[in-house]
């Protein structure tokens, strides 16, 4: 996946609810159209990040498996 992130969030080793809490915190500080890359290895985050995006209306751009963790890409909506 060829997406360039503006902000990278390291949530490797974190469990629910911290990846989502940090996602929300980071998005608050970002501008519209900017992209956040979340690196996480918690299985719960897999469903949670998508659910968060659907609920808040911020587009989920995709995911990429990198070694033993995932990268999730989320764009900040308008």
């Amino acid at each position: 996946m060829d997406i360039k992130a503006d902000v990278v969030q390291d949530s490797i080793g974190q469990m629910c609810p911290m990846p989502i809490a940090n996602l929300a915190k980071n998005m608050r500080n970002m501008k519209a159209e900017q992209i956040l890359e979340i690196q996480a290895d918690d299985e719960g985050a897999h469903a949670d990040i998508r659910a968060w995006c659907e609920q808040t209306g911020n587009p989920f751009l995709g995911e990429e498996k990198t070694g033993d963790y995932f990268k999730y890409f989320v764009k900040k909506g308008a």
Binding site: G13, Q14, M15, C16, P17, M18, I20, A21, L23, A24, K25, W52, Q55, T56
Partner: protein
Amino acid sequence: MAEKKTASIVLFSGEFDKVFAAFTIAIGAASAGYETSLFVTFWGYKAIQKGNLTGTGFLGRMIGLMNRGGLDRLATTRFNFGGIGPLLFKKMMKDKGVALLPELRQTAIDLGVHFLACKTTMDTLEIKREDLIDEVEDIVGVATLIKASQNSDLTHFI
């Protein structure tokens, strides 16, 4: 701009695992953009107390003595084993990278969760405002809770 969705959570319980659930749900709601309020009442007070001894009268002081320690000294609902249980749970949580209660409370505060405390509990248990963490925004009664939950998109009682 559309009005913000709101969430009202009542924290009645003071056990480790139930406070954990309340903080987690509050964080989830605040993260999803809900204006989130945590109404703390009765045993839930342990979650917002500094942990010092409380009470003015004899019975109040006895309760204060039994109930001291705040967030770091919560018993678990099951497997408490006279206080050993929470230590074991904390170790298991740490080993797995699960955030502990102080970090969760701070995260909820950072995300703007409103901490509201019940006045009757304070009077009954003889707890003063200065016994509570500074982040408690207001001391309220049931009418505030009912008004808030009537307008809430999400309500929980824990």
